[in-house]
């Protein structure tokens, strides 16, 4: 009797285990090689990582290049810019994405040079407009100048009917309610670029940084873009996020003053910013720029995130070199930039700049 009850316990267990094995033996339905539609010849696996701001763009690019080269696997780990640069320097990542250009403030450039054996390649790859979003009852359009924005986010302007806001919005019915500015509670490239903008154009007193300054009281912190998006359900809230996220969630966006006019965030207006920016590259391989946040040029949207790609000019392994070169060339190509624009809402690179970047990347061997 006892043995039978033991057996009775075992049999379903074994069945379940075999079933699980049988299921796990076959792959995901959409992962089976789709056959002939990819004609690329690249094969192997390359791993990179870094800025999570590029995550959606990278997902689009990875999908694109894997479709074209069925034998190639590209992995991009969104571990953050700092860890991405670190991984690149130590050779863990063959390429990396970073929101702030590699420089020698902490000796990173020198170390990267040692790792690569030459000046590392640094090219802008992902430009994304940052939308300032708001949720105020009865207000559909809002024009703000950089100074007012800085005032709102630093907690100095606390009411929606503040004269500074009314001045640029004479027709809006601004309520006498409190403003809750939403920032990111985590370390974020979007936040770093946004505060850079506020500092350059709006007299923001704090040091621009990916982490929100602890000295500012009030406001609300959201964890990740999702945290900010859910926080924005509250009436009287104002925040910032990738323009694509704002569009996806139907949030109203602020038009930002540039020169004499007010510009809405758009991929088009954002892509013009690089051409207007000054190069601060440290070598011929370095295309880092200082983004022209204070531009007064018409139709340019200066609240953008510019994110770079890092790669070595030479790799020891020829297959790695070919794969990295192929992947980066795809990213910078017109097709790659279009794909990211569609899927991630980024601004396609100005072709002139992209062509220059392609030249650098094309020399990888």
């Amino acid at each position: 009797m006892n043995t039978t009850s033991l057996r009775r316990a075992l049999v379903p267990g074994i069945t379940a285990a075999t079933l699980a094995l049988a299921i796990s033996a076959c792959g995901a339905a959409n992962e089976e090689p789709s056959g002939s539609d990819g004609e690329g010849t690249l094969s192997g696996t390359i791993k990179g990582g870094g800025a999570s701001s590029q995550e959606k763009g990278q997902a689009a690019w990875v999908a694109g290049i894997q479709d074209a080269n069925p034998d190639l696997s590209v992995v991009y780990e969104p571990v953050g810019s700092g860890s991405g640069r670190e991984g690149f320097i130590t050779g863990g990542y063959l390429f990396a994405g970073t929101d702030s250009a590699l420089n020698d403030d902490e000796g990173e450039l020198t170390k990267a040079k040692e790792q690569c054996g030459a000046d590392p390649i640094q090219v802008p790859a992902y430009v994304s407009p940052i939308a300032v979003v708001f949720n105020v009852e009865g207000v559909d359009e809002l024009n703000l100048d950089p100074k007012t924005l800085a005032g709102i986010f630093s907690g100095k302007i606390t009411k929606w009917n503040d004269p500074a806001i009314a001045a640029t919005n004479p027709d809006a019915k601004l309520p006498d309610s409190a403003i809750t500015p939403v920032h990111r509670s985590d370390d974020s490239g979007t936040q770093e670029n946004f505060t850079e903008y506020l500092a350059a154009a709006g007299g923001w007193a704090e040091e621009p940084s990916g982490e929100w300054p602890a000295s500012i009281k009030g406001g609300e912190g959201g964890d990740g873009t999702a945290g900010v998006v859910t926080a924005m359900q509250g009436a009287g809230y104002i925040g910032f996020m990738d323009e694509s996220a704002a569009r996806e969630n139907d949030l109203a966006t602020v038009k930002v003053q540039v020169g004499e006019e007010f510009v809405a965030p758009s991929a088009e207006a954002a892509s013009k910013i690089l051409a207007a920016s000054k190069s601060v590259g440290t070598s011929d391989n370095d295309m880092a720029v200082e983004v022209a946040r204070t531009t007064t040029e018409a139709g340019v949207y200066p609240v953008v995130l510019v994110s770079y790609l890092l790669a070595c000019p030479t790799y020891e392994n020829a297959e790695d070199a070919a794969n990295v070169k192929g992947y980066l060339e795809y990213i910078l190509s017109e097709e790659g930039q279009e794909t990211a624009s569609e899927d991630a809402g980024s601004a396609p690179l100005d072709r002139e700049i992209a062509d220059k970047a392609l030249e650098l990347v094309g020399a990888i061997k």
């Binding site: 006892n2 995901a28 339905a29 992962e31 959606k56 689009a60 999702a226």
Partner: protein, 351 residues
């Protein structure tokens, strides 16, 4: 219950009592009061609160007037207990309803068989990779925890009775039940960072983290079951000259097997939904990965839910609900299995 009848009769001898069905009378009055509040524009929640308060105050008050203070207190507490039950049930039903209704909209064959590899924009994706990951990681946790847990329980009940080691272990198991799940994840992460390399996140790490959470529950439930095995059985076996280990494996364990299996299945259902340790220890991955020992992240359903919500897109939220429903079903199925196992093996006699 005969007791209550008795006491009622007794009170009847000396006191006036409320008429039969008094609670229904008050109830109807309370509903009317709530209805009035609703008509006056209080909103549904406000009206419900008013009606409830009306009942909670009115019924004891009446009892106070007609009967006595003690009876009024009794009525008040009874009302409160019922109210507490009703109020606590609201969020629970609400939660289940939301998960089922919003999740069902997302569930489809594609959702169950696709992974998120190369899925961008509005393309169809799924959680197949996460489902496989969850089965593998939980399987690893079970393979580690079940033998350790059951053998520990055997030691505590059959061998260690009351000695110092057993007392320490019992204490540690109790403490272990209280380990915050994220600490278990950090432990696995720290362990494999040292053993394998910095930033190692893989399926086995997740399994180790979960087993740390699972072992104490397996020990506790097995212990309870072994305690229920009558001593006569053991003594009878010893008297026949059966060695102790044979007694345990042939007599004690088979007798308790139903309860043990139920406990094990329930402990699996507890860890299968753990998120934080897996987020830290096994990471996330849009691709299917079925090799837990390879140094590459493995997706699991709870982490899938979390990362989909983090996407901050309408589709992401939808997928998060879909994942929540799948996880919910997994847990319910495991609980059901535990129930069935429990009834199949339940001792045929007594209780």
């Amino acid at each position: 219950m005969s007791n209550t009848d008795l006491s009622n009769e007794e009170t009847k001898l000396s006191h006036a009592t409320l008429p039969r069905g008094a609670q229904w009378l008050v109830g109807v009055a309370a509903v009317a009061l709530g209805g009035l509040a609703l008509v006056l524009g209080m909103g549904i929640v406000g009206a419900a609160v008013i009606g409830l308060l009306g009942f909670l105050i009115g019924y004891p008050l009446w009892a106070l007037l007609v009967e006595n203070r003690r009876s009024a207190t009794d009525k008040l507490v009874t009302g409160l207990v019922w109210t507490a039950f009703a109020v606590a049930v609201i969020p629970l039903i609400w939660l289940v309803y939301t998960v089922v209704s919003r999740g069902a909209a997302t569930l489809s064959p594609e959702f169950l068989t696709y992974s998120m590899r190369s899925v961008t924009g509005d393309e169809q994706g799924g959680l197949y990779h996460a489902l496989m990951g969850t089965l593998i990681v939980t399987g690893i946790a079970a393979v580690i925890s079940i033998p350790i847990g059951i053998m520990t329980a055997i030691y505590l009940i059959e061998y260690g009775k009351g000695n110092r080691l057993a007392k320490t272990i019992t204490f540690l198991v109790d403490v272990m039940t209280g380990i915050p799940s994220i600490v278990a994840g950090l432990f696995a992460f720290a362990l494999f960072t040292l053993l394998v390399g910095p930033g190692t996140r893989f399926g086995f790490g997740g399994g180790v983290a979960l087993s740390l959470l699972m072992i104490p529950t397996v020990v506790r439930s097995t212990e309870e079951m072994l305690k229920l095995v009558p001593d006569d059985l053991r003594e009878a076996a010893y008297a026949l000259g059966v060695p102790k280990w044979r007694t345990i494996t042939k007599m004690v364990l088979p007798t308790a097997i139903g309860g043990i299996v139920t406990g094990v299945v329930l402990s699996i259902s507890r860890v299968i939904g753990e998120t934080a340790p897996l987020l830290v220890a096994s990471g996330f991955n849009p691709n299917l990965n079925t090799s837990p020992f390879e140094d590459s992240p493995m997706m699991t359903v709870p982490v899938f839910i979390y990362t989909q919500l983090s996407e901050a897109t309408a589709k992401g939220v939808e997928y998060a609900w879909g994942g929540a429903l799948v996880l919910f079903i997994l847990v319910m199925v495991l609980n059901l299995i535990a129930r069935i196992v429990g009834t199949i093996f339940a001792p045929k006699t007594g209780r």
